[in-house]
């Protein structure tokens, strides 16, 4: 899992969610790219981060795109965040004894039956064990550091602008303590009506 490096975090805010990832792609200690995308939109309201082996990032992105497209066409509707999380889990478990070296992180917004906004985050391990946290989920080479900083900085019901500051500081400071993560970061703030994407300026060492 530390062949290429990289880390992802997702956090819950007030009627919004945020997902952030670093941009480094390396070959062990040698840094190759500061522009590697590992967070992808699944639908307008669901984003997925794929930290781990870079070849599996590409393959899993394509596999999930295929499965979600088939779902959308067959059911005539967009997939819900909870349903997508289960789809991720069952897809990974199919390779229980020869897994993808990825620990996906998902963030999205859904609506309750009465119409309230429900922010959603989830993560799985590399063989599909689901984790539905209520505050934040982390994965990647800097995951231990992300846990530490997030635990300190996160509080419930942060507005989108405050959530952005919180998740950005968490990401920047955590990856600065990890040799295999960093070289820039990207943050997506997802609200009910729009997604704002910002690229962070961080230490390039």
């Amino acid at each position: 899992m530390d062949q290429n490096g990289g880390s992802v975090i997702a956090m819950v805010g007030k009627d919004c969610v945020a997902i952030a990832a670093d941009l480094r792609l390396g070959n062990q200690a040698l840094g190759i790219s500061g522009n590697f995308q590992r967070v992808f939109p699944v639908t307008d309201r669901i984003f997925m981060g794929l930290p781990g082996l870079a070849t599996d990032v590409a393959t899993l992105h394509e596999r999930f795109r295929y499965r979600v497209n088939m779902y959308t066409i067959k059911e005539g509707r967009e997939i819900e965040p909870e349903t997508f999380a289960h789809l991720v889990s069952s897809t990974l478990y199919e390779h229980r004894f020869g897994p993808y070296f990825i620990e996906p992180v998902m963030a999205g917004i859904s609506k309750t039956p009465t119409g309230k906004i429900k922010p959603f985050i989830a993560a799985t391990d590399l063989i599909g064990c689901l984790n539905f946290a209520k505050d934040f989920v982390v994965a990647g080479t800097a995951s231990t550091k992300l846990y530490g900083v997030a635990e300190g900085l996160w509080e419930p019901d942060l507005e989108p602008e405050d959530l952005f500051e919180t998740i950005s500081q968490t990401m920047l400071n955590a990856v600065d303590r990890d040799a295999f993560s960093g070289w820039g970061a990207v943050v997506h703030i997802i609200t009910a009506d729009k997604v704002i994407t910002r690229t962070l300026k961080g230490r390039m060492d």
């Binding site: 067959k74 059911e75 509707r77 909870e82 349903t83 289960h86 069952s90 039956p113 009465t114 209520k134």
Partner: protein, 255 residues
């Protein structure tokens, strides 16, 4: 014969006639039309499906017979035609619903499950050594995307949605009766009442709680949906389809 090419059974038994018909499917529909009546009515707040439970002898223990079957918590089916073919399709439908649950963590929407069943039935019209299924099905289900829906699936594998319909022996009269009595905002209670009246029209013999079966979909309100699983992730799903007990059927009959 154990030929590598399949021998006499390597081709489909359902072949086109010169007029463009699949005669085997016509015969299968005849088997359906000779079967005991069943019907379904979609109401504004639910669906009712019902069937006659006609037995050929009074010695038969009819408590074991199942005309209305539960597939998963939100979908039930009723049929007209050959009982054994229905049994096999119910098993396949149940397995299909569980396979969907294994992947997505939720039960399939009605139309998706109906499509799976219809595919199974179509494959029996285009495969070697098999005959079409001798049943038509009425599939009643609820999902959060489309609400309550009622589909009919025929031996050919074609399916379509109904607001109200009947299949089997008395279907022409029953459908005429339903056309007169149906309106778009009928309530579930009225629909059950209408279903019983419709069945009664063509009923030979006594209609009691032992000679009919009723299945009901009750549409949950948004509040109920939210209340049952507070974070929408865990918890068993509350069933929306259930079969009425004999006592409940008796109560409706006495109205």
């Amino acid at each position: 014969m154990a030929n590598a090419d399949g021998g006499a059974y390597s081709y489909s038994l359902t072949v086109f006639s010169p007029s463009g018909k699949l005669v085997q499917i016509e015969h299968a529909l005849a088997a359906v039309a000779g079967g005991t009546t069943s019907l379904g009515i979609k109401a504004s707040n639910g669906i009712v499906i019902a069937a006659e439970k006609k037995t050929s002898s009074i010695l038969i223990d009819d408590s074991v017979i199942d005309r209305v079957a539960v597939i998963c918590p939100n979908i039930g089916i009723v049929y007209s035609g050959m009982g054994p073919d229905f049994r096999v399709l119910v098993t396949k439908a149940r397995k299909s619903a569980q396979a969907y649950w294994k992947i997505y963590g939720t039960y399939p929407p009605t139309r998706v499950l109906t499509q799976e069943i219809a595919t199974v039935m179509q494959q029996a019209t285009q495969s070697g050594g098999v005959r079409p299924y001798g049943v038509s099905l009425l599939v009643a289900g609820w999902d959060s995307h489309r609400g309550p829906t009622l589909y009919q699936v025929d031996p050919s594998g074609s399916f379509w949605a109904w607001k109200a319909s009947a299949i089997g022996k008395n279907m022409v009269n029953a459908k005429t009766f339903l056309e007169k009595r149906y309106n778009d905002d009928i309530s579930l209670e009225d629909a059950i009442h209408t279903a019983l009246l419709t069945l009664k029209e063509g009923f030979e013999g006594q209609m009691t709680e032992k000679t009919i079966e009723i299945g009901v979909i009750t549409v949950p309100t948004p509040e109920e949906l939210e209340a049952e699983s507070p974070d929408g992730i865990t918890g068993r799903v509350k069933p929306t389809f259930r079969k009425l007990t004999e006592e409940e059927v008796r109560d409706y009959l006495s109205l």
